[in-house]
Each structure stands twice: as structure tokens, then as C-alpha cells.
Symmetry: C2
Subunit: 312 residues, 2 copies
């Protein structure tokens, strides 16, 4: 009998294409023909809803005021956020058709012939939402109520990084808690949540650990920004092996923005003092993928304790 | 005391801008700076979830197998659907950045100067989803199981028609049931749902009526397509006054596609006979707007019967 060496076994266990094939074979994901764009099947979706509900039962999440935003956002907001400079490789810009009857016929004819037709479009006022919490900050402009605010959102986010890795989706759901208030309170809240998040994922039997992290800033300047972000410990991530043992997947991030957003949007404490923001970003689809990777493709056969924590 | 004539009163009652202002003042919608793009507040969202749950308790909806799709879809699918020819005025095409470090700096610099920068982008493989059911049909290709299929989806749809009317959102949620199977069974299912839908909306105290309708086909050819669609009674809508008494708003549509999709995607019955599809499309955000228009801005003061039907 042929035996693979342990390293090869581990590599095989975490092979992203095999994992993708398994997910599709079990009807958990439905391919769309585009890398990183998937339909979700009934069982995947059920687990995702149960997992989101578990998170929303944790810590002070039940006190967060819910808001809901569409998957598109004002182009001006993306520009103001500095997203074009920091993450140009990830943007999705929305373009629409403003032409005549004759031009519409030409566009459709070109598409039917397999020719390019996008030069007949012009930009719309919106771009795709890159992070669920972005639309929240402009709404906080001015003086905060005493004690600040705590808001929860869940949104479909877009990041243009086409990949065969099932954990690197172009369109995915992010649950976020957003806290805004006094600097010390906000930092403490972020730190408390890092501990709570670790406990929650461990209760699901996931082999997580936490680490200092950075956003995927683009280019040379980006590397400096990333280094500075790490030095100041502004971002932590909880990671778990899903498609690689050596490079585990981030499933939750804990971000202290300091004055980045409160400065841009003129947000101040009730007594006019400087306010900070922080957010917890939970990758819902990624967390569900981590559960399937860790416990197998059939939730009926997951450990009883995990099922019970998820109220399955 | 000045008294407006009844016609002016009615016009005032249905003034779209006043309605929008009221919704914002009550925290039901949050403006984004872009026409037709809104955040939803806590109360709006709660009513929407209750309303969706009511629909999903109705008729055979509980038997439908749920699927979930992101708000983007393969560009090729939109082309194949003929959407560019039929509805070019509504499309949202996604464009991304594929350039170098230097080009990214130029793009960000242009944006910071308020200059145009979109010529630095190229098309991505996706477009915005225009109808929640579109990603379903390609997955049905081949022979259906005996009796056909019934699927439910809910999705964020995009239609580029910027407007100050709160009922004409660029990004909104559509719940759909999709039925595929024998032609007679599919048509009967569509007709049964028209009756069920009317009963459901009436139980909510909404002054609905139903009418033969057409899709918003573009241009001269479009007018012919629309006429033919009406003559064949392929589409019905349930409408209710929200922003106009004379031109009530469609909140639910009942569409019999005949072989339009089964032909394109090679979908056939289990015995290889011709299959048809139909779908029920429920405008979730619009239905909620109709409830607020009809019963007022405070759900605590809605009629007890309506509250009880919604399980508020």
C-alpha cells in the first residue's frame, strides 16, 4: 500500500480545488461560471443563518441597533474613504447605458456577435459596497448621544479578486458591529470582542488562533501603511485553516480605526470631545466554509456539542 | 380657512417627495446621497422580515427549496438572457482596476482632484443582478425530476433608474418563487398564486387590484414585445397606490415565461417533454413602503388585524 508522507497528506487535506469540488458535489455551493461567484444551497444557507444568529446572541450584540444597506454605495463615499488609493485592485465600479434606441440595438448586436460593447456605457453614481460598515459612518456626523453608539449591519460585499479558492469569494456576506464613542471605551470594546470571538469560535470546535493583521493595502505605499497598521496593533484577525495549514483563513477581524472615520465625517462625542470608531467584521460565508472544512460536509454528523451551540 | 379641492388633496396625499421626507424623518429610510439608494432603519427592516415570513407561510411556499445568490451574476448570463437588448436602460455593468502601482496612484490622484478616472478601469466578468430568479435557470439544465421543481430565492436586485420616488429604488430586495415543470401545471400554479397573492395583500388591509402587465422593454421594438406580452397575458401584477392614485405601484408580479428559459438552458421534463417556467416576484421593499403609506409611519398604531397577520 502506497503511503504519502505526512506533509503531502496535509497539503492534500487542504487542497482548495478538492474542497471546492466537494462543496459543489454536496449541493452546498452552486457554480456560476465565474470564479468566486457562487450560489448557496439550502444546507449552506441554513448553517449561515444559524451561525449569524449565534453571533448576534453573543456579548452586547443583542443591544446593537440594526441597520440594512444595499450592496451598492455612493461613488463619492468610496472616493472620500480613500478606497481608490488604498485598495484599487478590489474595486467594483458600476456602469450603465444612457444611449438612444439605435445605440441600444448596436450594443445588443455586438453582444450577440461576441464583440466588446462596454464602450457604450458610462459611469453610474454608485460602486459596489466593499465593507458592510462603510455606509454607517456618514450617518453619525455631528454630536453622538451620550455613551456613543452601537450598530449592527449585515451586507453583501464585493472584492474583485477572482479565485478558485472557495474562501476567496468576489461577493460575500459580512456581519459587522460598529462601535463609536470615547476612545478608551471603543478600544476596550474591540479588545473584549477579540476574547469573545475566540471563545465563540472555539465553542464551535474550530482550531482558531488570533494574530495582529493588516488590510490588503495596494502597492509600495501600501506596504508602509500595512506595516504601520501592524505596529500600532490596529487590526486583529481570527484565523483558521480552511484551504491551507500554513496560511489559515481570516474569518473575523477586530478593527480600531481611531479617528480615521470620525475625522472624515465630523463625528464627535456628546461633549464635543474626539470620538473613535471600531468594528468587528465577521465573514459569514467564510465561517460557514470553516465549519464544513472542520466537521465535514454533512451537518447531521457534526459533533453534538457544535450542533447544540448552533441550535441546529 | 383655505380648502384645497379634493383632487389637489389626493395629489398631495400621494406626493412622492413628501412621502420620502416622512420616511426619512421617522428613521425608516436613511439617505445615501444617491437617488434611489437608501439605508433601511430598524423598524423598516423588522416589518420587511415579518412580511417576507408571511409570504413564505402562504400556499406551497413552505415546500419551495431555498437557494441564495449574491447581487452579482456572470456577464455571460445577462448576455444570454437577452437583457442587453430588452432592458439596456436598466443594466449595471461591473468594472474593475487591473493596472500597475503607478496607474493606481494616478487614478487616486484624479479622484482626489475631482477628475474623471473611470477610463483606467476594464470590465469584470460580472454584472449586477437584475432579477432574483435569473441565476436559478442555468442550474436546471437537463431533465427535471418527476413533477418538476419549486425553488425560493431572495436577492438584491439592481435597476438603473435613479429617482426621487421612494418606490423606485436602484437596489431593492425581491423574493421569488420559481416553478418549472409541465406547461399546464406551471400555468395553473401561476394563476393560483395570483389569487393567493391578492388574498394575502388584502389581509394586510392594502387596497390592491390586479392587472395584466408588461415588462419595461426598451425602445420601439420594446413596445411591440410589451404589446405581445399583454395580449398573451403572460404577466400579471398586483398594484397598490403608494406615490400616485392614478398610477399605482406594482408590488408583486406573476410571470409565465413559457419556453423562454427552458429553451435557452435545455430544461426538459423527466420524460423529455417540453417544460415551462413561471415565477412570482414579490417586491419586498415596495410592499413595506405600501404598508407604511396605507397604515402610517408607526407600526404600533397599525390596525390590530394587520399586526396580527404580520405576527408583529
Amino acid at each position: 500500500m502506497n503511503q504519502s508522507p505526512p506533509a503531502a497528506q496535509a497539503a492534500d487535506r487542504y487542497d482548495p480545488r478538492k474542497f471546492h469540488e466537494e462543496l459543489v458535489a454536496h449541493g452546498l455551493l452552486h457554480p456560476s461560471g465565474v470564479r468566486g461567484v457562487h450560489g448557496r444551497g439550502e444546507v449552506f444557507e441554513h448553517i449561515l443563518q444559524c451561525f449569524d444568529a449565534l453571533f448576534m446572541r453573543t456579548g452586547d450584540a443583542p443591544d446593537a441597533r440594526p441597520m440594512m444597506f444595499p450592496p451598492i454605495v455612493a461613488r463619492e463615499l468610496i472616493e472620500k474613504m480613500g478606497y481608490l488609493g488604498n485598495f484599487p485592485q478590489l474595486i467594483g465600479s458600476v456602469h450603465s447605458f444612457f444611449g438612444s434606441d439605435a445605440q441600444a440595438r448596436e450594443m445588443a448586436a455586438r453582444a450577440a456577435e461576441g464583440e466588446r460593447w462596454e464602450d457604450m456605457l458610462d459611469i453610474a453614481e454608485v460602486m459596489l459596497l466593499p465593507a458592510a460598515c462603510y455606509p454607517v459612518y456618514p450617518l453619525f456626523g455631528g454630536l453622538l448621544p451620550q455613551g456613543g453608539r452601537l450598530v449592527s449591519v449585515v451586507g453583501w460585499c464585493f472584492r474583485h479578486e477572482p479565485s478558485h479558492e472557495p474562501t476567496r469569494m468576489q461577493s460575500f456576506r459580512m456581519r459587522e458591529l460598529v462601535r463609536v464613542g470615547a476612545p478608551e471605551a471603543v478600544q476596550q470594546w474591540r479588545d473584549d470582542w477579540l476574547a469573545r470571538g475566540m471563545a465563540m469560535f472555539r465553542s464551535l470546535g474550530l482550531p482558531v488562533h488570533s494574530e495582529v493583521a493588516n488590510d490588503p493595502f495596494f502597492g509600495k505605499t501600501g506596504r508602509l501603511l500595512a506595516e504601520s497598521q501592524r505596529e500600532m496593533a490596529l487590526k486583529f484577525e481570527i484565523v483558521v485553516p480552511v484551504v491551507s495549514l500554513e496560511r489559515p483563513t481570516a474569518i473575523c477581524s477586530f478593527n480600531w480605526h481611531q479617528e480615521h472615520f470620525t475625522g472624515k465625517f465630523g463625528i464627535r462625542q456628546s461633549d464635543s470631545a474626539v470620538a473613535h470608531t471600531a468594528c468587528i467584521g465577521l465573514g459569514l460565508d467564510r465561517s460557514v466554509l470553516a465549519l464544513f472544512k472542520t466537521h465535514g460536509m454533512d451537518p447531521d454528523r457534526w459533533p453534538q456539542e457544535v450542533r447544540s451551540v448552533l441550535r441546529l
